[in-house]
């Protein structure tokens, strides 16, 4: 059985009190509780404070470029569909620079889990607005207030019929860990948008701000009712619902759509020089 110590990595270089610590701890816990060994897991990340997460734990890691987490994660999963693949991204990373990939990952429905460290601000580049920053918020870069409407990732995901759409908050690690487990266990694309206060640059969306607002969906909430899920995803203000907001268990995962992936993972399918020669000779008359 894996132990939390197996996942011990480098010492994080985040600001003291950063919400990312809660994500790191919950992720390790979720993986251990799911009985996964570090080498069975691949975490792909982008650039930003969120992107550093896999360095602070122990697992296979591809820490790539800003916004490019999802295509790398998708193809790694196609190469080896026995590997648990988790994509970690920031809100700027995933919804800004990587917006197109986000849309298409939902269309493709690969069996990967996307954890978005949503602090509603750019952390690493020091406090510019992100797509999830509220309209009107004043920053150094947006001195007259953010002129664009705030992106609602969960509503967008429900509209795209994503496999699983969930939201959580680092202030409730119990809930966060459960949500991570549900997302990883889901067959198909799972989005988990995580409220992660940036204590240095976001003076609006603080621990207190989130704590006052987040409200888990009730026991009787039916995440498979899409219209209701959409309505729930639109709620934002004094009350912000968290939990599994939407689930479509019926959509086949991307890898199920490729006949060549029906049996052995691609990475284990043999190839040799003879096959290469045959490929050429078969074209010759």
């Amino acid at each position: 059985m894996p132990d939390i110590k197996d996942y011990k990595g480098q010492t994080p270089a985040w600001c003291p009190g950063c919400g990312n610590f809660g994500i790191l701890r919950s992720l390790k816990r979720a993986l251990v509780e799911l009985g996964l060994e570090p080498h069975q897991v691949l975490v792909v990340s982008g650039i930003g404070q969120s992107g550093k997460t896999p360095h602070y734990m122990q697992c296979n890691t591809f820490n790539g470029l800003h916004g490019r987490t999802l295509p790398v994660a998708t193809a790694a999963r196609l190469a080896n569909h026995e590997m648990v693949v988790i994509a970690e991204a920031g809100d700027g990373d995933c919804y800004g620079e990587g917006g197109n990939h986000f849309l298409h990952a939902m269309r493709r429905n690969p069996n990967i889990t996307l954890l978005v460290h949503d602090n509603q601000i750019y952390g690493l580049t020091k406090g510019q607005a992100s797509p999830t920053t509220a309209e009107g918020t004043v920053t150094k870069t947006q001195p007259f207030g953010v002129p664009s409407e705030q992106l609602n990732p969960v509503a967008l995901a429900v509209a795209m019929d994503a496999g699983l759409v969930a939201r959580s908050f680092v202030g409730d690690m119990e809930h966060l860990t459960e949500m991570m487990k549900a997302a990883i266990a889901h067959k198909g694309f799972a989005l988990l948008d995580i409220f992660q206060p940036c204590v240095t640059f976001n003076k609006v969306n603080t621990y207190d701000w989130y704590r006052k607002r987040v409200k888990p969906v009730g026991e009787d909430y039916d995440p498979e009712d899409r219209l209701n899920a959409f309505e729930t995803a639109l709620i934002w203000g004094e009350e912000i619902p968290v939990g599994v907001l939407y689930r479509n268990p019926g959509r086949p995962a991307m890898e199920e759509r490729f006949p060549v992936l029906a049996g052995t993972p691609l990475v284990k399918q043999p190839f040799d020089l003879e096959t290469g020669r045959r490929a050429i000779d078969s074209l010759a008359l």
Binding site: P38, F62, N63, A75, G276, I280
Partner: protein
């Protein structure tokens, strides 16, 4: 025997069907074929052509003059009649083009009612193309049976009636042409050698990838590289390949990198414009030492330029793309066979040295068709350089970016052992974890850039000299113009000029060898390339200090021909 046939017409009229059928039939019959295509960036209308050479000897370029033109539109007459040889024949369906007036009284103009014969004999107007193919074969005096066999095989699935109709249509065109054109005195020689395979450059690149164990291909469509995507998709099932159409070129390369990190050989392809979007990902491949093959079908730029035409305009871009410093290799095949073998070499070196490897072609090579009796598979290689399975499990410890003597660190397949595989786009330590340390950064650069580089350079082969051993005129070129240069050299020697050529296909890093001595020894050196700024010539100067006496450039989007090169040489450029 060496005949040239041109099919001219609007996009969507079946130029490619007629030309492609002729090429295939001639190849099957045992002739050598060379074909090239010229088309506009539109799906219907405009004016396009397909030109093929049917020859008993090896053909590696198109001729200026043609023996037969099949004009499928009105514009063809004005455009292509002047290109006919003295005894050349222009075939047209004057009835359906409503050009019966023009077709009268000109012995060089032969009317064949493609459409009427198709309806009367074949049963459907869509068989007009087959009538045209039959007519050309009749005029050339070729044996019709290979065409009948081919039609039988092609339409078998559609039933007896469709096969019959096509065969009757082909025969009708053939008989009509033979009967109505007594002045057609083309005397075909019997083909030499066995049936030949007809293959174009784009298919060859794809085939080279399939034959190299490529298991993952992601791309976003862009002419002229789309054919590679189609080829990979066509072979996906049989050879176990995942082919994915990406949302953009940025994703295409990232997908390839993800698959490669996951443990399989991966490739992406685009044209210059799409590759422009991949520059950041290219640097990521360099930093994370993730093997990847990128094929680029060049077309005139900048931006989207002339989308369907040809240019060798992206060499220096590809050479320098990406931020920062990292090794890469660039190949530029000159023939479909080289496209297969160099794509194979690209896969081998990409994985051996964990670097990005490029296969550069251009629209001209991509869409050109050549014949081969058998593709050369002797030099094909396949070595799995990855640490996987049992071998990986047996390691006491594993460091993805270990500092090694050779500069090459072990590339392990994640998941196969209790060790983890870690890499990072930021500078990293031997384990792959992010660092800021200046000393370690230095060591990593030295490993990635210098130590590996020395070994990679040794893998590159210089050009095989062709032509006179003691040339007074030495032509140099790269990639797709090799075929034209070879025939230009033959023509020069035939008229008494001692000429030779050096055609580079392994471009970057620059191979060593005696080619530089040959250049220095020749009296007149001319670099021939299809761009406005003499990129290859500048590259040679940059690396060696050698400068060519003259440069022949072409940048109107049209390919070189032997006549163009000879004319430019005579003009003393």
């Amino acid at each position: 025997m060496d005949y040239s046939v041109k099919i001219g017409g609007e996009a969507g009229q079946g130029i490619q069907t007629v030309g492609g059928l002729l090429a295939e039939v001639a190849g099957t019959a045992g002739y050598h074929v060379f074909a090239h295509q010229d088309y506009e960036s539109r799906v219907r209308g405009g004016h396009n052509f397909y030109q093929l050479r049917i020859s008993t000897g090896r053909a590696t370029s198109s001729r200026e003059k043609v023996d037969i033109v099949v004009g499928l539109d009105k514009a063809s007459l004005g455009l292509h009649k002047p290109e006919l040889t003295e005894r050349g024949i222009f075939i047209l369906d004057a009835e359906s083009l409503k050009m019966t007036g023009e077709a009268e009284g000109d012995p060089g103009l032969v009317h064949v009612p493609f459409e009427r014969l198709a309806v009367e004999k074949g049963g459907s107007p869509i068989m007009a193309n087959v009538v045209a193919v039959g007519a050309v074969m009749g005029m050339l005096g070729m044996d019709l049976s290979p065409l009948l066999d081919l039609l039988g095989a092609r339409f078998r699935k559609k039933g007896e009636q469709v096969v019959r109709g096509n065969i009757d249509a082909a025969r009708a065109g053939y008989d009509y042409a033979r009967e109505k054109c007594p002045q057609c005195s083309f005397a075909p020689e019997k083909p030499v050698g066995p049936p030949k395979l007809v293959i174009d450059g784009v298919t060859a690149v794809g085939l080279g990838a399939v034959a190299s164990g490529c298991k993952f291909y992601a791309a976003y469509p862009m002419t002229p590289s789309t054919g590679v995507l189609n080829t990979m998709a066509a072979h996906a099932k049989e050879y176990g390949i995942v082919v994915e159409q990406a949302e953009d070129e940025i994703a295409a390369l990232q997908l390839a990198l993800g698959a490669s990190f996951g443990g399989v050989r991966a490739m992406t392809g685009s044209s210059g414009g799409g590759f422009a979007l991949m520059a950041e990902g290219l640097a990521l491949a360099g930093m994370t030492e993730t093997p990847v093959v990128i094929t680029i079908g060049m077309r005139p730029g900048p931006a989207t330029g002339l989308p369907t035409r040809t240019e060798q305009g992206d060499l220096l871009f590809v050479m320098h793309a990406g931020h920062g410093e990292f090794p890469r290799v660039i190949f530029a095949p000159g023939t479909p066979e080289q496209a297969v073998l160099l794509t194979n070499k690209a896969f081998d070196l990409a994985e051996k040295y964990q670097i990005p490897a490029f296969v550069l072609f251009d629209q001209y090579l991509g869409d050109s068709q050549w014949t081969y009796e058998k593709m050369n598979t002797d030099t094909l290689v396949y070595t799995d350089y990855r640490v996987r399975g049992e071998e990986f499990r047996k390691l006491a410890q594993y460091k993805r970016h270990a500092l090694t003597e050779s500069g090459v660190s072990p590339l392990a397949v994640p998941g196969d052992a209790p060790h983890v595989v870690v890499t990072d786009s930021d500078e990293h330590d031997e384990e792959g974890h992010i660092i800021e340390d200046g000393g370690l950064r230095r060591k990593m650069v030295e490993k990635r850039v210098f130590r590996k580089w020395a070994h990679i350079a040794e893998e590159m082969k210089g050009p095989e000299p062709y032509g006179s051993e003691d040339p007074e005129l030495l032509l140099a070129g790269w990639g797709s113009s090799c075929g034209v240069l070879r025939e230009a050299v033959d023509a020069l020697n035939a008229r008494g000029t001692r000429a030779a050529m050096l055609c580079f296909t392994e471009i970057f890093p620059l191979p060593s060898g005696d080619w530089l001595d040959r250049l220095k020894a020749a009296r007149r050196t001319v670099c021939v390339e299809m761009n406005a700024t003499a990129q290859f010539s500048r590259y040679i100067t940059m690396e060696t200090g050698f400068t060519f006496n003259e440069i022949i450039k072409r940048y109107d989007g049209r390919p070189f021909s032997v006549g163009y090169v000879l004319g430019a040489l005579d003009a003393g450029h």
